[in-house]
Symmetry: C2
DNA sequence: AACATTGATAACCTAACCCTATCAACAAAT
DNA sequence: ATTTGTTGATAGGGTTAGGTTATCAATGTT
């Protein structure tokens, strides 16, 4: 009647062995324990299940009908346990499971298509679950464990996170095709004075970046028309609502044939955003994350070397 | 790297709780153990799996990617264990599982159709796996555990078995329709002298029974034509190859309209076979088996009372 | 009749497991 | 800036689950 405590896995292994061999001593041999230990564990199992599993006699041991019924369920438990252990053995090699990666919506769609295929080539079993969120949300989700790693706009100050710089991405100045600056490859900063500049909603990092530049140049942020994505922002420029600063990777990815738009450089104006990979300082996989950061730098340099600049990588020495 | 020993169920329960609550102390509360004990068991689990499952920090606990991957497998093991325990709880009530019943081929098909429906009514979840074998084989299979119970021709002498008498079944004398005794309801023993009597192969219990009677009466066993079943035996009588003694239950079940045959009684000749239910003396379900024997007696009396006689039931007193 | 083999039992030992008490690190509120 | 409360980790100690060897009675085999 004592049914308070669960059977142990060991007891189930013992039962399975005896049920298979129908002999306590040889089962004990196989299990590399003594026969009395086996007897004791089987008895304990029977009393915890409240059922007689085996019929003992001096002339051989048999399964009871109940034991016959429960044996398959016992094997189910053992099989599930074996599956767990095998899966653990695979996963313990690392780089074989699903990591949760957060990216800002103004970067992910234009960066990841270039990086993910290379990562997949290098780490065959690695899977990345990608989640797009505003950078503040990314930071929060990284902290609360919803994300394992995130690509964030730099600088990030946080003691509890490790941040490894990835690369520096210029912003380009985009005007409508019928704009007075259209056709001018390199514009001077002063030419921007008084321009109406469109940008994204304030929650996006790019907003504050563009705002501070505009303040410096005397251009005006058009707050009545804020884009919710880079694509809508571009459409608004096409429609003649104003001009905009757009990230180079966006332009590279989405505007191979820019109709109705003209892309300029601003002279002597290093308007850029920096991206870094971040993870919790205590994350057990931190070594792999650092490796990942190196991989991403490598692939960006390889496939996007003419669009973005490699990050300064302090602490890693001159990696050029 | 230590992966020698399996995780314990308890460790998996602990892991599941922490993964669910993401807090050691409250998980420890729920599990009704102290927090240090929980810490220790989780560490042990991680080292036996060779994987970090949880990322501890003073500000909250998170699953690692590997822990996230392994958590469902952990739950699988726990679910399988719960299934086993539930199944055991059901089965421990008794009368709910499959018992293996052996019957002689000259009895089973003619007895069980009358008994099984009643048993099913009384024990809703009980299942009987029925196996037909010659009685010597039944005895052997009962001993080696292939069968749990068996209906056997009495007497059976075996210290290691319990035998409970069920009922006594007359044998009737059957002659072809054109036989000289056809139409004689009650024949005298001496009228059988010189008759050719057909019977089953020697492995069947009925063979020796019939043989000893024939020896006594001066009838001759026809060994060149031995039936392999009661049905073929009947056909042989119809064909005029001889006469036969057939069990009353067979006649009751299969010969409601006996064409080409005539069934006699032999005066003052108690030619009968006794049937008993047998099980191993040490069988944990022996009390239920004894109950079963009583049930079978009851149902036989109810449905076949005019064909067979109740057994003398020594040791149970006058159940009359 | 002698011998080997079955599972159960006795007596004992070790280590697994839990406890309480305490710690250092951090968060939040003052 | 300091205090207070909470986090998971660690230390020291006690109980018992689970192992051992030695032995038994019952049974099967030679």
């Amino acid at each position: 009647m004592a049914r308070q405590k669960s059977p142990t896995v060991r007891q189930l292994e013992y039962f399975e062995a005896v049920a298979r061999m129908l002999n306590y001593r040889s089962a004990a041999d196989e299990l590399e324990i003594s026969q009395p230990a086996l007897t004791a564990q089987i008895s304990a199992l029977e009393s915890s299940l409240g059922v007689a599993l085996l019929e003992r006699s001096r002339s051989g041991t048999h399964l009871t009908p109940e034991g016959r019924e429960l044996l398959p369920h016992t094997r189910d438990v053992l099989a599930a346990m074996r599956t767990l252990e095998e899966r653990a053995a695979v996963v313990s090699e690392g780089r074989q499971t699903t990591y949760r990666l957060g990216v800002p919506p103004t970067l992910g769609p234009y960066l990841l298509p270039h990086v993910m295929p290379e990562l997949h080539k290098r780490y065959h079993k690695l899977k990345l679950y990608v989640r797009e969120q505003p950078h503040q949300t990314l930071l929060q989700e990284l902290r609360n464990g919803s994300l394992d790693i995130a690509i964030l706009p730099l600088p990030v100050r946080a003691d509890d996170l490790i941040i490894e710089a990835l690369f520096t991405e210029p912003l380009r100045y985009v005007v409508p095709a019928d704009h007075s600056l259209s056709g001018t490859p390199v514009v001077r900063p002063r030419q921007l004075r008084g321009e109406r500049v469109l940008t994204l909603e304030a929650q996006h990092h790019i907003h504050s970046l563009v705002k501070s530049v505009c303040d410096k140049l005397g251009a005006s942020i058009e707050r009545d028309y804020e884009g919710t994505s880079l694509d809508t922002l571009r459409q608004m420029v096409v429609m003649g609502l104003g001009t905009a600063f757009l990230p180079a990777l966006y332009i590279h990815s989405e505007m191979h044939k820019p109709e109705a738009l003209y892309v300029c450089q601003v002279e002597g104006m290093p308007l850029v955003r920096d991206h870094g990979l971040a993870w919790r300082a205590g994350a057990p996989s931190r070594h792999f994350y650092r490796e990942l950061a190196g991989d991403i730098r490598e692939f960006v340099d390889l496939r996007l070397g003419d669009v973005v600049r490699p990050a300064n990588t302090p602490g890693r020495g001159g990696k050029r």
